[in-house]
Structures are given as C-alpha cells and as structure tokens.
C-alpha cells in the first residue's frame, strides 16, 4: 500500500537517472587514471597546501566536473589559518563531521585525457576559501555551512586564472 502511494505521488522519472548515470560514465570514459590515484592526488594536494596553511582535512573535497569539452578538477579545501602565525584560529567547534565525497564524485575518476582538451584539463580550482587574504579567513571559512551552499560559491576554473597568490 505504501509502495503504491509513493508511486502515485512520486512518479518515477528514470530520464533523470539516465542523465546522471550517463554523466558519471562519460566522466570516467574521458579520464584515464586508476581509481586510487584520486585519493593520492587529494593527499598530495593537502600536503602541499598544509606547508603554507592550516587545512581542515576532514572537510576537503576533490571532485571532477564536465565543463564544455574538458573535465575540470574541483578542489574544495577549507583553510583554517596560515602557518606563519599571523592568523591561526582554532577549528570551529560547530564544524560538521567528515562527510564522504558525494556520489557525484566517482571513486574511479581520474585526470582527463580528451585529446583536444589536454591543455585545459586538470585545473585545480581555488575555492573561495583558499583565495582569500589571511585576515578575512575566519569570516569565509564557514565550516558549518552545508556542503551544497559551499558548492554554489565555487569559482569555475579558468585558464587565465592564477592559483592563489602568496
């Protein structure tokens, strides 16, 4: 009965399922790195950034997204403060627990190899958090904000866009 009711009020829309499945499968079709490479890439990214900044490791998120003819890498790495001691606020006590990467991030994703797009691929997207100057860090980290909200504020990668200064 309950099954009938859910079916009645929420008609199945397999078109959307098809769309999402296609998006994911094409992403991995276009990429050629082994599944574990994404994890090591994430680890290395955090390690490099940690040399300069204090990173909220639990809330980092590395994902790949189709953008025009290329696949872009989006790295969302919240920064808690700088290493040089000018500004090192403690992690917010309201920080949400670590959530695993959403299903939109295929575990087997890897770097792009599309021939015509080789140059545009593998862009590390500086998130708003990583791009701000040190003295505004506390106001922009917002670890308590839901993930979706942070996602919307992500900058789209641009070839001309430089990695964060300093």
């Amino acid at each position: 009965m309950l099954d009938f009711l859910t079916r009645f009020f929420k008609p199945e829309r397999s078109g959307a399922t098809a769309k999402e499945r296609l998006r994911l499968v094409l992403l991995s079709d276009h990429l050629s790195l082994a599944p574990d490479v994404v994890e090591s890439l994430k680890r290395d990214l955090i390690e490099v950034i940690s040399r300069y900044c204090e990173v909220d490791v639990a809330n980092t998120d590395v994902s790949f997204e189709q953008q025009d003819s290329a696949v872009a890498m989006l790295a969302n790495i919240p920064i808690l403060g700088l290493r040089n001691g000018r500004s090192t606020p403690p992690a917010s006590p309201t920080a949400p627990p670590y959530e695993p990467p959403s299903s939109a991030t295929p575990a087997h994703a890897a770097l792009a190899h599309e021939p015509q797009a080789a140059a545009d691929t593998a862009l590390v997207t500086p998130t708003v958090e990583t791009a701000v100057p040190a003295d505004t860090v506390t106001s922009t980290v917002e670890p308590a904000k839901p993930k979706a909200a942070r996602k919307r504020r992500r900058r789209r990668p641009n070839l001309s866009q430089q990695a964060p200064a300093t």
Partner: protein, 278 residues
C-alpha cells in the same frame, strides 16, 4: 579541348571548382537509424535538385538498398569498383523516384577488412567531382568498417537516440572523428510523451552531453517502420510529419533552411481529437 597539363591543373585547382560535400552518417551504436537517416536525407536533398550519391559502407551487411527499395537493381557493389571489376557507372544504381539520387551498394558476401582505406578515400574523392553530396552510411562499431567509412568524409552527422548506450557510443565516436571533421547531430526516436513524463532523456539532456550543433530531431513514429517495410523513404511522402522533419534537416544541411530545429511535442488534446496537425 585543351590537354590537362600540370600547369593547367594547378590553375584549375586554384579556381575553386565546386566539389561535392562528403558527409558520413555514423553513430557508434547499431540500430539507431543510420541507414534510414541516410536514405531519407539523400532523398530529401535529391528532391531539391542536388546530385546525391549514397555509399553503403556496411560491407557484409548491405541494407541501404533495401531501405531505398532498390535491392533488385543492384548489379555491382563498392568492392567491385575498388577492385576494378566494374566501372563506377555500372555500379551506381539510379533511384526509381528521384533520378538525381544514386546508390553505391555494399558488398554482401565480403568482409569489412577487405576494403582498402586509401582506395576508399580515392573513391569518395572521385565521387565528389560528379555529385553535390556524397553521403556515406557508416557501419556500427569503431573498427575497420568505421575507419573506411569516415576516411573520405569532411563532415559527419551523428545519429543518436535518447538512450544511455547510444549517447555514450556517440560521445566515443565524436572523440574518434577528430577536430578536422565538421560534426552535427540528429536525435532520432524521441517520444515526446515519455520525455514529458520524465521517463526519457530529452533533446536537451542528450545535447548537454554531446554538445553538437543540432540538425534536427526525429520523433519515434510508426510510419518509419511502414516506410522501411515498403522501401519507400518518408522524405518522398509530402503528408508525413517525419518526412517533413527529414526535408527540414536536408534544408539545414544545404544551408537553405536557417530555422532552429523543431523539437517534437506531444499532440494536444484537440490535435489528438482531430487527428493531429497534418
């Protein structure tokens, strides 16, 4: 008549002589409607007066002849021409309805890898001097038959149905065609009622992934099956909506129709009541 010396040839080459366009119709996946599309686009273009030759590149699985209703007229095929067992003129079958449409059938009892890629390219080049359009019906798959079908073409039409497998294969094929090729898209077998209910990928969904210039959309209509049963392409049927879609696509290929492709919609209640728009 002056003899064609290399100097003259160079002069002739510098003057842009109108040459036919070589267009391959491909999809990767089989059964999405490549052959039907080729037959209808060839018919529709030829009806406007253009000289059109269709090449069935599906060696071993000849089909374009039967879709065009010309299966009883085929005497020689593309491999006969490549191996010089028949002249081009002998092998070309003239369409029974539109005389400016001709067919070069595939070999039925041979293998795809028997075709020499360089020879195939030379054949397409030769046909481009005689026809305004050389349309090549590509076999399914991405092996030797595919390579032979695309080698002479400068343009490609991807036929894709709103299914995950077809879209994935189309995406793969676009990657294989290379950047030099002008690639356009036809979405076939759209069922507007299912799209409206969210049970089928929409035209926008498909092209959000493929991102190709859209030539047109063909609805999934029973008259397509009837037309292939009879060997009479719908592009010749002035009362058929599907035929009109193919003629509009032909117009877009020729550049005479600059309108945006119409996306088939589910008929409204009144249209259903009065038997549709046509």
């Amino acid at each position: 008549m002056q003899e064609m010396t290399p100097q003259n040839a160079a002069v002739a080459a510098s003057v842009p002589k109108p040459r036919g366009r070589a267009i391959v119709v491909t999809s990767g996946k089989g059964g999405v409607g490549k052959t039907t599309t080729t037959a209808n686009l060839g018919t529709a273009l030829a009806r406007t007066g253009a000289r059109v030759v269709l090449i069935d590149a599906d060696v071993g699985l000849r089909n374009l002849d039967i879709v065009l209703g010309l299966e009883n007229r085929v005497r020689s095929h593309v491999l006969d021409v490549l191996e010089e067992k028949a002249t081009l003129e002998e092998a070309l079958v003239i369409d029974k309805r539109v005389p400016s449409l001709q067919l070069l059938a595939a070999a039925q009892t041979r293998e795809k890898d028997e075709v020499d890629t360089a020879q195939m390219k030379a054949l397409v080049e030769r046909l481009r001097d005689k026809f305004d359009y050389v349309i090549i019906d590509c076999p399914a798959g991405i092996e030797a038959g595919f390579q032979n079908a695309i080698v002479g073409a400068e343009e490609a039409i991807i036929v894709c149905t709103p299914e995950v497998s077809a879209v994935r294969d189309a995406d793969r094929v676009v990657g294989l065609l290379g950047n030099a090729m002008k690639v356009q898209l036809i979405i076939n077998r759209i069922r507007p009622a299912l799209v409206k209910k969210g049970k089928m990928l929409s035209v926008e969904d498909v092209n959000a992934i493929l991102r190709l210039p859209l030539l047109g959309v063909i609805a999934d209509e029973p008259d397509v099956i009837v037309s292939t049963n009879r060997g009479e392409p719908l592009a010749n049927d002035d009362t058929s909506r599907t035929g009109a879609s193919f003629r509009a696509i032909a117009g877009r290929i020729a550049g005479t129709d600059t309108s945006k492709p119409e996306i088939p919609q589910e008929p409204t209640f009144f249209e259903k009541l009065f038997g549709g728009r046509r």
